[in-house]
Amino acid sequence: MDALLAHKDEINEQLARYGVKFGIYKDGNFKERLFPFDPHPRQIAADDFRQLEKGLAQRVAALNHFLYDIYHEKKIIKDKIVPEEFVYRSPGYLAQCEDITPPKDRYSHISGIDLVLGKDGEWYVLEDNLRIPSGASYPLIARTLCRRCSPATFRQHRVVDNRDYGKLLKHTMDYVNTGGINVIFTPGRYNAAYFEHAYLAEQAGAVLAESGDLFVENRKLYCHTSCGATQVGALYRRISDEYLDPLFFEASSLIGIPNLMDAYMAGNVAILNTPGNGVADDKGIYYFVPRMVSYYLGEEPILKNAPTYLPYFPEDFAFVMEHIGQLVVKDVSEAGGYGVIFGEDLTKGQLDELKAAIRTSPRRFIAQEVVDFQDMPVTEGEEIVQRKADLRAFVLTAEKPVVWPSGLTRFSRNPDSFVVNSSQGGGFKDTWILCH
């Protein structure tokens, strides 16, 4: 490992050379910056990964069942496993998607599951991301560049190769493709994850297109190309549901494709991930995912959630009010590390304000016990320091859920922070799945 650490500067030079950047909006201005990389990898032993893999595949399978059910028969609501308020009041639930069946019944083709490794050695799921989870491109390119900078490291350590993500993505798109080319649909260069959109298009051999390149005619999606209008069979969209189709969702959207949903409803194009998935990765619905596993699959959930309380339930409400100073409270409508409040950081007055907000809209919040997750070594200048880190695992679902043998490990650069999001200044590491 020392050989790899000794090449930290060269690796970062390579990352700069390949434009491995992340965009952030600050004070209304878009700025691109290099995504800070730390060469200490997260290492997961083969046996541990096998268990994690089973748990992730199980969870994503259950979430796909849930999405199908919610937009069709709603058995899980009728059977009172999930209260209907949590479904219909979720901002991710789209009534317009009722009774639409996506190609091959797949809803979440590319799922990003955020986990932390507790000090007790258990993995805990913190969040499911079933809409447009970002991040696979970073460990993907980092592995290639680390191998180039320190070949000795990879001769000494037997690490499962992660460089087939492009093929895996292509297969996932091909599986649901209804006839036509594969397109990655980006909002454009000034999107935070533009590097990823372009890099994945290159890796998966897909066409990278913006809204002006795409149009719908006779309920089919086409791309204006040099060969004329070319039909699109699979669209990996990297824009939010509400902006996808101005005639169906947000009318003011300038980055969407008019009538896209019409083509989709006619079964003439697959959209990855399917619009309406937000209902399943809602922070409130998260609480019910272990129950979904038992309900749909008849299995015991392999992965645990972080201990979570829903103020919506009277008994949980009482607990949250009493222990708010030790809990982390999350606003279910926020993402990217925003709306995460640690009770221990608040003054008495602020705690009272938060309690009042929860009392007014209990459905808007969840509260979790602070998982004491393991620190990871991070190089800072000449020093090695310990920082909090999570793992975003990627599960791609074609015939069945397949867990990519790698993942994005994000770390906090602030010694006192549990927030690891790249939009909040965090860095990233490669994730090694060991062969033994």
Binding site: G188, A198, L208, T225
Partner: protein
């Protein structure tokens, strides 16, 4: 060419224009850095007039710093380099990460020259990386049309600079020949009246033909 969105053709063309603007203008300005050492201020006002850009610089030194390196000046070379990289970034899946990496290196090298006492050293690296980019795309992009659209942009920009600056006019026949050849290989449709002027203008140039040819070159493609 396989299913390339039409917007890509425009980006490829402008990628060619911006890289050529950066590298050719730097080459043109190269001797100016030497001249200022001996107190021979180069005529930057005439240069600005020829390029039809604002001339608010108070001295040759200020011109060589701001015109070359200032990323907030819309006329600067740094801005041209930024546009070169921006177009390249939006073409990653078409030109490839390896080819694109030379543009990243060129811009990074340029930025390392800001405020430098020896600015020609990083600028030399910028030129080297752009030339490496040129070799790399020619070698690595299998699609002939893609390569030739970029080259059409480069030809238009080079001709425009030569004509505006009255520089290297002896190369005009070669450059015009290249542009016409590349247009055919890129399968682009030029403006017919411009095509006729470019094809029929006698070279070497005589009289007022330079301005006519310049306008025809700059309006040749509507991309």
């Amino acid at each position: 060419m396989d299913s390339m969105p039409l917007s890509k053709a425009s980006r490829l063309f402008w990628l060619g224009r911006y890289y050529e603007r950066t590298v050719t203008t730097l080459t043109y300005l190269w001797s100016w850095y030497d001249k200022v050492i001996d107190g021979e201020p180069p005529d930057y006002k005439t240069f600005c007039k020829a390029l039809e850009i604002d001339c608010f610089y108070l001295s040759a030194e200020e011109f060589l710093q701001d015109y070359v390196f200032d990323s907030t000046n819309p006329d600067s070379l740094r801005m041209a380099a930024d546009n070169m990289l921006g177009n390249g970034m939006m073409l990653r899946e078409t030109i490839g990460s390896r080819t694109l990496s030379y543009l990243e290196l060129a811009v990074t090298a340029m930025d390392s020259g800001i405020g430098s006492l020896s600015p020609t050293l990083p600028l030399q690296r910028t030129i080297d990386y752009i030339l490496a980019f040129r070799g790399c795309y020619d070698d690595c992009i299998p699609d002939m049309e893609v390569r030739n659209i970029i080259k059409c942009g480069a030809s238009v920009e080079r001709l425009s600079l030569y004509l505006r600056l009255g520089w290297r006019l002896e190369f005009l026949p070669t450059e015009v020949g290249r542009l016409l050849y590349r247009t055919k290989r890129a399968r682009l449709t030029p403006a017919p009246e411009c095509f006729k002027i470019i094809k029929d203008t006698p070279l070497p140039l005589k009289g007022d033909n330079r301005l006519t040819l310049l306008r025809a070159v700059e309006a040749y493609f509507s991309l």
